[in-house]
Symmetry: C2
Subunit: 237 residues, 2 copies
């Protein structure tokens, strides 16, 4: 299908449109103050995100869902206990740290690119985060959606097929008329297997310096770009 003929564009949010790592680094320093250094906060954030990804992959595989917020809160509790810091951070502080995932900062190209694409296409979020988290992040980032879909609505996490097909059904658009946009190969591979178009957005800094962000070459997906602004150009938006 010619690129400009996609009717709807579905966006992953955490990582693809938002820079969760630096947001959480700053948020943690603000909540923890001097204890951030003691806790080796950057490595804690990296382990925290990795634990979330593992938990979500397991739940997705078994067709189960639970609140992403609860996964984050439980994950941080486990990490702090394992590292011997259970008495350094209170339960209330764990909740406040978890709040950080609900007001992520955008990558610099994201809001402007989305606005351009929305002029000519339906744009919708399809996120594994809870709907309220996508909503508050979207308000903070200035992302305006035609519709906002969360794993919470489908009671399943990406890459479970019911998320992509559920969004397509609610949009009333055939999978072939939808372009899925993400910086994660697992997300696009699942979408492609169901007949959606795929756009890979490179986010080399997603996991920070030396982090193992996914990479893709031209041809791996229908579109491979470096930014949402570049995607807007590819869609003639």
């Amino acid at each position: 299908m010619p690129r400009e003929h996609y009717k709807a564009v579905l966006f992953d949010v955490q990582g693809t449109l938002t820079d969760f790592r630096t947001t959480l680094l700053d948020h943690g320093r603000s909540v923890l103050g001097g204890r951030a250094a003691e806790l080796e906060w950057p490595s804690t954030v990296d382990e925290w995100r990795a634990a979330y990804r593992t938990a979500v992959a397991e739940l997705s595989g078994s067709g189960q869902w639970r609140s992403a917020r609860s996964i984050y809160a439980d994950g941080l509790t486990d990490i702090l206990r394992r590292r011997g810091f259970e008495d350094v951070v209170t339960a209330d502080e764990i909740e406040r740290l978890t709040d950080g995932w609900e007001q992520l900062r955008p990558w610099p190209d994201a809001a402007a690119g989305l606005r351009k694409i929305r002029r000519s296409h339906l744009v919708a979020a399809l996120s594994n985060a809870d709907l309220s988290a996508v909503l508050s992040t979207s308000r903070a980032c200035g992302f305006d959606w035609d519709a906002l879909f969360s794993a919470q609505q489908f009671r399943a996490f990406k890459p479970h097929e019911s998320t992509y097909l559920g969004a397509a059904g609610l949009l009333g658009v055939d999978p072939a008329g939808i372009l899925m946009v993400a910086s994660h190969r697992y997300d696009l591979d699942a979408a492609a297997a169901l007949g959606l178009g795929t756009a890979f957005v490179s986010r080399p800094d997603e996991y920070g310096p030396g982090g193992r962000a996914d990479r893709a070459s031209a041809g791996d997906y229908d579109v491979v770009v470096e930014s949402i602004e570049e995607l807007a150009g590819a869609l003639n938006a």
Copy 2:
């Protein structure tokens, strides 16, 4: 609760924010040409809407859902047959006439009022229409939502409680922190019974001259207004 303390405002769409009757009158004349007079198109539209409301009320009562579009298409087919016009309008034209419900025109105060309220509150649609219909109407009207909820997502029609409570759960807001806005008493009465705040917007022309639009007096609901702009003022938005 003081009015300005609602965190989220949920809006009915058809009738409350959009003038479906004049939209459908014009749309039908455009599709049918000279046959609109023969069919007594205005009375057909009124009967069509009434048949939809009856079908939705029955389905809501029994906890069932089916596509609002299919209810509209089947409803018009029945009405034309009953009136002896089954050979005057083709099946394809019935689909095109039904398209009219998916690009409704706004009441003049709706888009500006919504924009004002959204500055200080979460705003979301909660409509019995299919999600794709709310979405295309919202684009046509310039309604920007934080989230968009349809009976389709909850597999139940308003006034079934799973629609109001489903929206509250996805928003992550207690029912008492939500204001439901509608021009229909049945919708607000159901919301109030579940603990939501209620705002009645008077739409005296909803069913045209001499039509029986719902009315309310000050005190019947938490807020009673004549327009969405007036509602914005009441919310200090």
